[in-house]
Symmetry: C2
Subunit: 236 residues, 2 copies
Amino acid sequence: MHGALEEDRLYVATDILILTVRDGRLCLLLSRRVDPPYAGRWALPGTFIGLDESAETAAKRLLAEMLPIQRAFLEQLFTFTDVNRDPRGRVISVAYLVVVPWERLKELMAEKDARFRCCQIAMDGNGLSLTDDWGGALIPGDLAFDHGRIIETGILRLRGKIDYTDIGFRFLNDPRAFSLGELQTVFEAVLGEPLDSSNFRRAIMSRYEKTGRLTQTDQAGRRGRGRPAALYRFNL
Amino acid sequence: MHGALEEDRLYVATDILILTVRDGRLCLLLSRRVDPPYAGRWALPGTFIGLDESAETAAKRLLAEMLPIQRAFLEQLFTFTDVNRDPRGRVISVAYLVVVPWERLKELMAEKDARFRCCQIAMDGNGLSLTDDWGGALIPGDLAFDHGRIIETGILRLRGKIDYTDIGFRFLNDPRAFSLGELQTVFEAVLGEPLDSSNFRRAIMSRYEKTGRLTQTDQAGRRGRGRPAALYRFNL
DNA sequence: CCAAAAGTGTTGGTCGTACACCCATGC
DNA sequence: GCATGGGTGTACGACCAACACTTTTGG
């Protein structure tokens, strides 16, 4: 489509930051680039925006091409416009933040194993760190373009919003039957720190129970060793 | 520069939302359009982004062309990309939020009176409302392009950030000598509701005094009738 | 001119809510 | 071992009350 970019033009692309929580770890979907620039390097999935689609439409189109998912959470993250962010020419990127349950993403990972990878991400005072499934560390500076910055921006946004929006529930494999322990695991993975389960339970309940969005089901889960957890249902 | 836009190209512009607090009211700088489309209608100041500048650079350039201000607060707000938002062709807009003290903005308003106007804005459950200096109501739907939506987005962002960033202090005419009453007026204008002065004082103090960013001066202000207020200094 | 009233700034207390931290109990 | 619930101390906002300092008002 854009084999060579013209010099006197400005192009607009979308990159999507697909996040999930797997085994209590915050993870991110990376795609290996096949063409230059940055051939062979890891990058966020991206696409150019067509003349007949909005940035959000383009992001949803790209997501749909990769995942058989409807109704995934998707919101605009930030627009990156540095003049030299793409060696091909002048390309700005409207980045989107996407949240997907791991059970859905797993299906994709099984198929297109070579091109995609789901990396653990962590961020503390020392900055970003990426770890693949076999414990190998990935240098954030090796990512294509300015995608390291995009990822940092996304994690900070996610952490800022998880306490006063329902974005945490979007990570749940089944919002119609989950335990508060699972939900707490999501919050801990996103925030990068352990939480007090007693306070967590009270906070979630006081925020959502009175509105009727969160209701307790009559079932109990038998997932682990200990006492079966009560299962809840959340209306997204 | 862009007398006619080509059909097969995508253009990128910047619109800036310049906010201030005047006489306890949140106000917004609007510019009257002279050329089509929307000739004669009110709009946010905007410009196209050049090939050699980032969106932020373009926004700062536009701001500098209008106001003799350095160091104004400026941050990216949102990127609006609807396909039909501009009748001339495909133009997306990276909107920026700017905060300017009224004393600075007043100087501009005195000069270029005809083209610019400083409107009071309010937003509640019924949506946005705009009022000019003589009490005339301005219909938000009469604004050019999708600028009504941009304004709403900006106010919501501002309200969300005022409690955990220093953005409120950017409205102060003189951050080196202000009373807590003045600061409270800013917060009330932004939030659109009155605050308890006792709690406000405690909250501001506990947040900033220990860090040393907010210090009490030895002066006292003599601005009004009542007891002179203690003056404070904030390090931006 | 002086005293009282009104207006604004400043400090303090109470009460309920929510969170941090710890502990007890059920399965 | 994990889920669930309770209890205590602390921090903060809503609401209220009192006091400090100045201008305005009314004799």
